[in-house]
């Protein structure tokens, strides 16, 4: 029988179907789920805390926003309390600090350290949406901090940072390492790779089938994890505010975050599948690739394009926040290179993936069964 493309595609699907079980339920890579779900857990925790706070403070009554907006620094505790009434939270404590007392200036009298005691107090008020923390020092207001209990804009920024700094750089990176390197290496370690080699299949088809299995698992786990995290970020916020955002750009943002996660699996998956064929120790390719991705910002423009992260960051709808007070070297490490357009980012990533898979396919023809050396 002459093998046709459709026949080979059916073979690849059969392999993928069998390998899906390993990709999803391998004991060796169970930690992948923890990586994928960690950000969602963070946002769910944040949302639960905010909801509990809102419920607890709402039960104690609201203070009109205009009242605490009008409070000025330098006002006394009594004045504030008489205008705003009972706070939702009242904390008092004493603060000790050491201060250097200068000498009198008459020659030998030395400078001495002495302890100063301050009465500190924090009164918190809530207007149903924002909380006002009023900080008193020795009975006088010295700082006022008014902020929404939940800050949608801030949460979106946090999500953008978490997604780019943790999810793309670490979670998907190491998750794909766990899933894709296990596809061939796992068979080698389990001494079952010969099962595939003794079937009438081209090695390239075997590689494709395994890649498809890993890809489906990784996309379900990580795109699912990203969208779950996104939903968890939106969940505690005011439904009206969320609806406005969703209709304006929320849906598009969700799509591009999901796409970036899925394409991350496509790109890193191909790299780690190839690494699993060429190398025995996963630490070597992981460390090398991690370093390569980290120094991407320092590389010439042409080399920057040989990076999965370069394309993924270009797809993210919101630039990740960068702390301007951080050292320049850290800012360079964290900042993406000049981003590519969405089209070129997707095309570039797919081209890079295809190139890596071609290299992997060539390597797959030379694999031998050598269980005794594992």
């Amino acid at each position: 029988m002459t093998a046709t493309i459709s026949f080979r595609a059916r073979q690849a699907c059969t392999i993928a179907r069998v390998e899906l079980r390993r990709a999803f339920f391998s004991k060796r890579s169970f930690w992948v789920y923890l990586l994928a779900l960690f950000p969602a857990a963070v946002f769910i925790g944040h949302g639960i805390e905010a909801k509990i706070d809102r419920q607890r403070w709402s039960a104690k009554g609201f203070t009109p926003a205009a009242l605490f907006d009008g409070i000025k620094q330098g006002e006394t505790e009594e004045a504030v309390r008489s205008r705003l009434g009972m706070p939702v939270s009242d904390q008092k404590w004493e603060h000790w600090r050491r201060v250097l007392r200068e000498g009198s200036g008459k020659g030998s009298e030395p400078r001495v350290w002495e302890e100063k005691r301050e009465q500190r107090r924090r009164l918190s008020y809530f207007d149903g949406r924002r909380r006002a923390d009023l900080w008193f020092k020795n009975g006088v207001l010295h700082e006022k901090n008014i902020r929404p209990l939940l800050n949608f804009e801030e949460d979106r920024q946090v999500f953008a940072g978490l997604f780019q700094y943790f999810y793309l750089r670490l979670a998907i990176f190491f998750g794909c390492l766990g899933i894709f390197m296990n596809l061939f290496r796992g068979d080698m370690l389990d001494k079952t790779l010969h099962f595939w080699f003794l079937a009438p299949i081209r090695r390239e088809v075997l590689l494709l089938g395994k890649y498809l299995a890993g890809l489906v698992a990784a996309v379900v786990i990580f795109t699912g994890g990203a969208l779950l995290c996104y939903a968890a970020m939106l969940w505690p916020h005011d439904p009206g505010e969320v609806q406005v955002y969703w209709q304006a750009s929320g849906l598009s943002h969700a799509f591009w975050y999901g796409a970036a996660a899925a394409l991350g699996c496509v790109g890193y998956g191909s790299v780690f599948l190839a690494a699993g064929l060429l190398l025995r120790n996963p630490i070597v390719p992981a460390a090398t690739l991690l370093l390569w991705e980290a120094i991407n910002g320092f590389l010439p423009a042409a080399l920057q394009k040989v990076s999965v992260l370069y394309y993924l960051q270009s797809l993210c709808p919101i630039p990740a926040p960068v702390d301007n007070s951080a050292r320049a070297i850290f800012r360079m490490l964290l900042s993406p290179a000049e981003p590519a357009s969405g089209f070129w980012a997707v095309t570039g990533l797919l081209a890079l993936t295809a190139l890596v898979l071609v290299v992997a396919a060539r390597a797959s023809r030379r694999i031998e069964i050598s269980y005794s050396t594992e």
Partner: protein, 310 residues
Amino acid sequence: MTTAEVIFDDVSKFYGEVLGVNRVSLRIPPGITSLVGPNGSGKTTLMNLLTGLILPDRGSISVLGVSPRDPETMMRFTGYATQYDAAPRWATGFEFIATGLLLFGYSRAEAEEKAWKALEWVSMTEAAHRKVAAYSKGMRQRVRLAQAIAHNPQVLVLDEPLNGLDPLVRAETIALFRAWAAEGRHVILSSHVLQEVDVISDQVILIANGMIVAEGEIRGVREEIHDHPSQFVIRCREASRIAALLFNEDHVTEIKLNDDRQGMLVLTKDREQFARALSRIALAGNLIDGVVPADENVDALYEYLIGGGR
């Protein structure tokens, strides 16, 4: 398929510094061929090379005209029951075989039918739906055999196929090999049990230290060994007289009379002359009940060519 033989042409394989096989050239015709040699001699290496699980460092291999580097074509007509004991954790015996058959392009119904038939051949239908990982060693051996034969291959390669089989299944399996060989297929197997090899093989390949020591039909190989006298057992009534007559022959080196004086073991350097001498003695009126070669078996060949240490 351009040729009906399995051909190794100057094949060498090294595992780093360690020799696997060295400059092996073989032509294996259809029938049952046994690879015989001590542990580490290169039997499994030869089988793995033949099936493409490993690649030669030098030389080429052709299985009925197809290179093992083309598994898509070669594995359609080749089955290999390896010694690797592991099976995918997910699989029951039935799934293990049926999934493999799906890759041949059979429909699910066809694959399941063939899988069931293969399991029937090895008497494994009762355990078909249990996980392979939970099978005993003998059951795993049988299921590997079933997987190798499920697609009805033209070339069947079997690494120690009779290990772990109970006597009944062993006899059935040998009968199956014979039936397949009678159909003009290749059955290439390795075994440590030389008596079994002796009984079932059409030809043997003796291998030691990665090199082929001898190959061919057992009798032909024996005739090529001139260093060791040929041994014959003669059954007769007047053993002492016939022994005395034979002892006059130059080619006879040793005669051992049986305790019952009803026969003897004769060692001769020349089989042809021995046959002629025996004819003369019989024609002279000495009654000879039977003559059988005592060392035309794999055991003797092994002893002569490879030595002890198996």
